[in-house]
Subunit: 219 residues, 2 copies
Amino acid sequence: MEIRIMKNILDRNQNKADEVRKLLEEKKVNMINIISSPGAGKTTLLERTCEAMGGKIRIGIIEGDVTTDRDAQRLKKYNIPIVVINTEGGCHLDSHSISKVIEMFDLDNLDLLFVENVGNLICPSAFDLGESFKLAVVSTAEGDDKPAKYPRLFSEAGAVILNKTDLLPYTNFNIEAFKADLAAINPRVPLFKISATRGDGLQGWFDWLKQQLNSFRNS
Amino acid sequence: MEIRIMKNILDRNQNKADEVRKLLEEKKVNMINIISSPGAGKTTLLERTCEAMGGKIRIGIIEGDVTTDRDAQRLKKYNIPIVVINTEGGCHLDSHSISKVIEMFDLDNLDLLFVENVGNLICPSAFDLGESFKLAVVSTAEGDDKPAKYPRLFSEAGAVILNKTDLLPYTNFNIEAFKADLAAINPRVPLFKISATRGDGLQGWFDWLKQQLNSFRNS
């Protein structure tokens, strides 16, 4: 009974996600669904990305949070369109809420729409939002065992960011073990090692992202 | 419809949790439900606690994980009873799975049963397992805004552990902001600032835990 209900929920989510994807492809808007544990650095990554690319690319942001608009407050200084979705306790965004809020953006004047999902390494992976790809963000402080312990996100991700490399000297994080676990699940996924607070490694992420936008626009 | 289903799931979970709690009270077994984000340090905290208290107190552990038995592998050196529950993608433990596995422990010869819940700051908070109290663990690397952004766990917790204080010099974590947010939600909750890897601050946690066990045993 519960399994059937869950299947219905996921089926209805998929139908709406397909609609969202179709609309965004028509409008040539690339949507990236960012998923991580709480505090892995999604918002700081968005801050750095808006600073570096906001002048050249028209960016919008959907901020998913259980409660509060604290992340949106951090981002409003970039003067880009931001819409907050508070899930009121819910553990992930779904395509129905995305479908409602994308109407609030001027899609004809947007290149890139970031969705900062709720901080959760499990549930958001199960819900397609209509994104171009999922971006998995993981912090070195979380330990090197996350791909093996939370495989679904890492297997589906179109790119992985390992953040907080500035903390590597102070943790027992084994980068070779992390890479081996990731390669076993998703052998060809691009991995960017960065420190969003210090700025290390960000250029590789920006360059790759620009390539993705170009190939999406010309597809 | 979905709301009614969710209510049914939670009601059935509560009924079974009440049964578990009654059984554990009869057997004088204190059960602690440990909840945190992925990689906040639950397993390392258990390692230190087993090392310090395992000789004096009879400890058992239920390890909840989406997949793998990696945490249990880390704990088996303490030669204490451990049972792994793999949720196979599920984002939290529930009282039905706990009810089944506590039969595998010799409850007449146990003082303390730790449940290491699935790494998730949201969903586990909604499911009573029959525990004596919930222990919230949060790492300094996650940022000081977690109590405000994920209030349910912090409002229900019987104790809070702030782990990875050794990383404080390398982060922008503001401990006064963290305490203020926590106090607004749960004014009297005990807070232990520790570094589980380095050993800092652990004695306060051990002493408090011993007090809890004594008062539970004599209640």
